[in-house]
Symmetry: C2
Subunit: 223 residues, 2 copies
């Protein structure tokens, strides 16, 4: 626990944290899929992380982060989100392509560097995708915004956050103006998971059509 965590361990903890954000225990196969590893490899690491006290493992029933495990995961998430913000704001990185760079750097930067970057940015509370940045002591704002997919026709909402996993998706969203703080109005939608139609930029905005899978990645606040 006191020894520095390996890159691999940090990635496991971060992934498990992300999975347990929405839902109870994380399944072996979910972890494997997100990390692009064989399930058997996950089982092996999970046993080690349970051993070291970072998580609880109920065989055949998934894992749950412990207090220390959650703290370690949040430290990685903080590094990642500060890095993304810094790269975009200070070094002109693209909203869509910054993820990969941060993914590598989050395992190499020291706490000192992260704090210097945070300070240079004015201690931001959200990253450019709208995700809350954990504090140094591992506190994180619980943003349980509904997704655009849940909005009914006529709803007026402000875009709060977009999932940052997929650069392609991000590029598409940006091209539509679907970025944090954008105002949206739902003008039409099909039943049974069909596409949803929204005006981007308020009542007078451009209309566009968005599939359900995509809409589920967009978190909004009612206005």
């Amino acid at each position: 626990m006191t020894a520095p965590l390996s890159r691999s361990v940090e990635d496991y903890l971060k992934t498990i944290y992300r999975l347990s954000e929405r839902g109870g225990a994380a399944a072996t196969s979910e972890i494997a899929q997100r990390m692009d590893l064989a399930p058997a490899s996950v089982t092996g690491m999970v046993k080690k992380l349970a051993e070291s006290g970072h998580l609880e493992h109920v065989p055949y029933h998934g894992v749950r982060l412990t207090g220390p495990g959650r703290l370690a995961a949040l430290a990685v998430v903080r590094r990642h989100r500060i890095l993304e913000t810094y790269l975009i704001v200070k070094l002109g990185y693209d909203w869509a392509s910054v993820h990969e760079e941060a993914e590598r750097l989050e395992h190499a930067v020291s706490d000192e560097l992260v704090e210097r970057m945070a300070e240079a940015l004015g201690s931001p509370r959200y990253d450019p995708h709208g995700a809350p940045i954990p504090t140094r002591d591992g506190e994180i704002e619980q943003s349980d915004y509904p997704s655009l997919a849940q909005m009914e026709v006529g709803a007026r909402v402000e875009l709060r956050q977009v999932d940052d996993d997929d650069p392609e998706r991000l590029r598409f969203l940006k091209s539509l103006g679907l970025v944090p703080a954008a105002l949206l109005v739902v003008t039409d939608r099909q039943p049974f998971g069909g596409p949803i139609r929204v005006k981007v930029g308020g009542e007078e905005g451009e209309e566009c059509v968005i599939g359900m899978a995509l809409a589920a990645c967009i978190l909004v606040e009612r206005r």
Copy 2:
């Protein structure tokens, strides 16, 4: 050769480059000492790097970088020196403590990030310790300045470069004002490798005494 180099390989190449800067072939034991590894470990890696075409190995007689090996090493050196410069200039890092951070980051940053940092700095040609920064295409200025240890009494010189290996040494040098561009006058020295006495800041500067080992780490240009 086309696959990305591991952190370990990059460190070997960088170390071997640094060793071959001053002197022909690098010895196994020198590499081991600089990297804090057992000599046997070095032999093993050296064989692999010779296999992959990064260096030539004459058993029992040391190694020499090949063209591709030298290019790969210079890429690491460029990353390191741009990083050090960026951390100091843009993030307020200490001249003395920046080395360790750069040592980790140099294996994680992409070429794109390095180039963005270089651009933000105005494409510097020297890092804060005075070391020349290789270009993108692996060209590096041959700075064969003499060391302060070689200067005779009365010599007037400008400080050009200090070795950046040891943070403690750097802190000491900085406390004396021995930083790049400082003007020095040698006022006295003992024969047979005794300490050397210099005025720091020109004729009117503070006098201080410097041991030979330290003076050998300070490169100067006659004025």
